[in-house]
Amino acid sequence: MTLLAFDWAFIIEKLILIVIIVLTTLLITLYTTFGERKVAAILQDRPGPNRAGPFGLLQPLADGLKLIMKEEIIPDASSRWLFIIGPGLAMTASLMTCAVIPWSTDLHLFGRTIALQVADVNIGILYIFAVVSMGVYGIMIGGWASNNKFSLMSALRAASQAISYEIAMGLALIALLMTTGTLSLKTIVEDQTAGHWWNIVYQPLGFVIFFICAMAECNRTPFDLPEAENELNFGYHQEYSSMKLGFYLFAEYVNMIMSSAIMASMYFGGYDLPFFDESTVAPNIAAMIGLGTLLIKIVLFVFLFMWIRWTIPRFRYDQLMNLGWKKMIPLALFNMLLTGALILSKL
């Protein structure tokens, strides 16, 4: 069990996988931005972008192109390097999460068994935590480097928000881990596939807490305090333009997808398609079905995110903190105790 046991074929295989996953993720993200606009439009009884390409499907490309073409502005008084590093960090941190997500069952290609997961570490959930906790740096550094009051304030808000909700999130997860008994995402998903109930059945409260915290971590409305336009103009990326801004915007959507994927894997059986026996089809096809299932789940979650965004108004800052510290954490603790009690009573 070591992370450093590798051979070259293995490395190449993983590299390819990483590239594919990252590219796919980026692609999906692109379309998530499109999806966001579309969902917003539909919820507001309007058609949404529909000009570029059929049904507006090329719209994200156009958006991206626009961002790239924009003028690159780096404010004079900013810390130049940090200003540049900030969005990169945000993007990297959000992309790194996908390394431990099991996308589907193993593929069998060219006589090799290829796991559709970059790294099956036995501390997968901790890894996710580590990466998530890194995510806040991008925002903080970017906000600070802009040398703009609004940016700084929103960076601070983002940081405190992230720290506050990480705790409740962790506590909610601990309750889940108590039922699963493993930290490896792969094992968690496999346990759910193997004819058991999905974890949501055991951990409904935990899921709700996790979901809310995930929303807060992604800075999604109603928790989008860091970029509250009416208070802080545009938040931490106020001074950003061009693709650096794009990175920030992208990172948010990547985060959203990743948290959806995590939630799907941890609470909703991951790539498990209910009432379907994978052994009846060829393994590769089963893997594809699994992948599709997971993607559908992700899409559903992403839709949920958007749906909430366009329904619920933004919190006030004190409300946000109260919710985090006075409601979520006690609730998560209660959930943990309850779980523990139940497990003990079962023993």
Partner: protein, 166 residues
Amino acid sequence: MNVLEIIFYALSAFALVCAIMVLISKNPIHSVLWLILVFFAISGHYILLNAQFLAIVNIIVYAGAIMVLFLFVIMLINVKKDSEPQKQLFVKFTGVIAGGSFLTLFISLVKQAMPLVGKTVPLKEGTIGLIHPLGKALFNDYVVPFEISSVLFLSAMVGAVLIGKK
């Protein structure tokens, strides 16, 4: 020199450079960032020693929580780089001399330590750094300190609230 050794030297050198940068950076924010890099390097070392759990906890706790707090506070009170008037040169000099002699002293001591000669640290092998053995040890032999550390947190919590509230 195999790959592992190269990784060891690279990580060590990286960590040392970053640590020195922590020291000599004028801007506190830069110091924080360099320190984060040091922590990453140390996490790399943990992975090299196959202490996976500690590696990840190191990142979560140090890089993810502690340093965020530092950064947060520095931003909150907005320390500018000019706000730290420079110490006199000789103070710095003395400090460096003191640290240097500290290091030399201990290195010379360790060099004399006979029982260490020939002892090696196996890299990348061993299972004790994994979460299962650690968890077993933590909740069997070390359950008392584990529970007691909660007192520590309680007191820190009460303290932070006491100091923080108006």
